[in-house]
Amino acid sequence: MNPLVQYGLLLGIALSTAGLVAMIYLIARSFGKTREEPGKDVPFTGGTFSPKPVWARYHAHYYGFALLFLAFDMEMAYMYPWAVVFQEVGVSALADMGVFLTILFLGLLYGWSQGALKRQ
């Protein structure tokens, strides 16, 4: 199949899913409107009535991991094409990626030794 047709099919799936969802919403809508009552739209907080906003500059305590993740995630972008041609190219491919991954792995070990791998 032509890749363009394939992606067209995937787009079709995405659109028809959206259509299905819209239909379900319409069916649910046909059952009636949401009755507006005081307090109904306030998020549940254990029975406490707390209409105050909560959005805040959130402290992600896992940022040490997240930085390492970025490094590894970039590497994966190279990994997939490499993986496909790996057997054709042979030993040099293993060596190339081996060096790359070793450096990355040493980076992980260094981060680990410096206490990056913990909840900050």
Partner: protein, 591 residues
């Protein structure tokens, strides 16, 4: 008429979907499912599916009396349930804050099961109806007021400009409830100034957007400025006394935003970053935590930066109806703690014994010991169920509570094998030790203030039962563990379940003794029992054969004080594990 119905003609499609809705009766239980288990009710076996948020529930199940503060909280929860919604009352009158129950059943397992089936019928028939009434509780009504960003004392009901500086007034929301909310309101105004001073960086958080959208969605029916509230939030932190960071850099006026300037006065996390904090109330009706526990976590990300924890506001004199006749005192005292009524009854009886108004005899001692140990098993089972639910072990939650309910319903039959099996399975649960070790460890200092299993988990064995000659004969040894963390507390309670089971079996069936009350020979008397949560003691004053004054020392009061330091800087999940592992009973606190 069903108060929670949706207003629409019950057409074919609507009736069909109501039938489907009625297959699962998703229920939110107030005050909490544990209290039902304590009365011998197994809600899930009766056909209810318990959910953890009112948003996903169709039925509000009321299983016990609601004191005023819990009644207000229940009204909030009810308001947050999407229609169609029903109220099932299990053997208890509903408070005025809630609409009348759609169905009231007696607190008996068989009746409850029938009632749930009947509820299913109601759900099939009554999800849609031609009439529906708004549910309006006083504390849920909010109204908009307008205030000046610079002069918080300027508050008026209409939009306009500030008479002092001419700035446009900004809207803010106030709740119809007086008291507490008025206080928050005050905070908000003060915060606003703080927010202004810190610059404009925070607006981008979506506060502006959302308020616009909100108006769009609701036709401006409930105006609220996210913008104002958000700044207020930031400002609030600014006032917590972190002056140490002042004067690093000038305020970059105009359009320029300096991160340093923006975060200058904000509190620092342990890693030195200045982040915003927000509040997450966990209670008084958070499923899984003991009902009535008012826990508010101030979160820095998902770590607990600070917390407020409190419980109870009833006076013991009102609760007991003092002065109380001697022969009724124990029964009245048993109503104090709904999570361990039998233990308090024994405590009351022993106090009367001490006064000399009740003769000690062997049968009474054996009977009360047996009652106490049974209470311990039931209480620990209910705790285990709570703990299991929190840890993501739903089988433990269901089975422990069902066992506890069965045990309470039929005290004669000891479910020995099921109990031993359950304890064995908990002990064999993989990774449980890793999950719980080191969580909520009590320091030596804190440990000395603890009692009961919480203390014994740390290897400090102080158990009033060890001095009891009757138990000494039976070869009682107090369980203990070597780590004062959540795992230690679990281990001790598991051991105690088995030890209490052994004691109850050794004591055998003892008929309840006849209590003959005479006249007391002391003006004051006292008694101590080792309740499931620790050492509870009571001192009573007696005047003219009436108990006139009672002072109670309950284990949970001490443990409540430990909770706050123990959860500091823990991740939310670990903080909750710590609090549940302390097994607080809000009913016995603050009396």
């Amino acid at each position: 008429m069903i108060t929670g119905t949706r207003q629409a003609h019950p057409s074919f499609l609507r009736r069909l979907v109501s039938r489907v809705l009625a297959i699962e009766r998703r229920a939110f239980v107030v005050p909490e499912a544990a209290l039902a288990a304590g009365r011998g009710l197994d809600l899930e076996a009766a056909g209810l599916s318990l959910v953890s948020t009112p948003r996903h529930a169709s039925v509000l199940v009321v299983v016990d009396d609601l004191p005023p503060d819990l009644a207000r909280a229940a009204a909030v929860v009810y308001a947050q349930m999407p229609r169609p919604r029903w109220i099932l009352s299990v053997g208890t009158p509903l408070p005025e804050q809630l609409p009348p129950a759609d169905l009231t059943v007696d607190a008996e397992q068989a009746v409850l099961a029938e009632g749930v089936a009947e509820l299913g019928r109601l759900m099939r028939m009554g999800a849609f109806g031609s009439q529906a009434e708004d549910f309006v509780a006083e504390q849920l009504v909010t109204r908009s007021q307008y205030t000046c960003p610079m002069h918080p004392e300027v508050v008026q009901d209409e939009p306009g400009t500030c008479p002092k500086c001419g700035m446009d007034l900004v809207p803010q929301e106030t709740s119809g409830d007086s008291g507490e909310h008025a206080h928050h309101h005050g905070d908000g105004e003060m915060d606003h100034q703080g927010g202004e001073r810190h610059g404009h960086g925070n607006h981008e958080h979506g506060g502006d957007d959302s308020s616009d959208e909100h108006e769009m969605d609701h036709g401006g029916g409930m105006e609220h400025s996210g913008h104002e509230g958000h700044e207020g939030h930031e400002g609030h932190e600014g006032h917590e006394g972190h002056e140490g960071h002042e004067g690093h850099e000038g305020h970059g006026g105009g359009g320029f935003m300096s991160m340093v300037a923006m975060t200058r006065d904000m509190p620092r996390s342990p890693d030195g970053l200045a982040m915003e904090r927000f509040e997450a109330p966990y209670g008084p009706l958070y499923p899984g935590l003991p009902a009535g526990l008012n826990l508010t976590l101030t979160l820095d990300g998902d770590a607990v930066a600070d917390s407020r924890i409190s419980a109870g506001n009833t006076r013991i004199d009102d609760l007991l109806g003092l002065p109380s006749p001697l022969d009724e005192f124990a029964d009245r005292l048993s109503r104090v703690d709904r999570l361990a009524p039998a233990a308090y009854r024994v405590l009351g009886l022993r106090a009367i014994e001490d006064s000399g108004a009740l003769d000690r005899n062997d049968q009474m001692a054996r009977h009360s010991t047996s009652v106490l140990e049974r209470q311990r098993i039931a209480s620990h089972l209910i705790w285990l169920s709570r703990f299991g639910m929190l840890l993501g072990l739903p089988w433990l939650g269901t089975e422990a509570v069902s066992l506890a309910a069965r045990f309470q319903r039929n005290p004669g039959a000891l479910p020995v094998e099921s109990l031993e099996d359950l304890v064995g399975r908990v002990r064999r649960t993989p990774l449980l030790n890793r999950r719980l070790s080191g969580i909520g460890t009590l320091s030596e200092d804190l440990l000395s203030h603890a009692t009961g299993p919480n203390q014994r988990a740390g290897g400090v064995v102080r158990d009033s039962r060890t001095e009891d000659p009757l138990l000494a004969d039976l070869g009682f040894t107090a369980a203990s563990h070597d780590a004062a963390d959540a795992y230690g507390r679990l281990a001790v309670r598991l051991d105690e379940i088995l030890e209490s089971l052994r004691l109850v079996r050794e004591l055998g069936d003892i008929p309840a003794p006849d209590l003959r009350f005479g006249s007391p020979d002391k003006r004051t008397a006292q008694a101590t029992v080792e309740s499931p949560r620790g050492t509870a003691s009571v001192r009573i004053d007696i005047e003219q054969n009436l108990v006139s004054k009672v002072s109670l020392e309950a284990p949970s009061s001490a443990h409540l004080e430990l909770a706050r330091p123990a959860i500091q800087q823990l991740e939310v999940a670990d903080a909750l594990v710590t609090i549940v592992s302390l097994d607080l009973s809000p009913w016995e606190i603050g009396l």
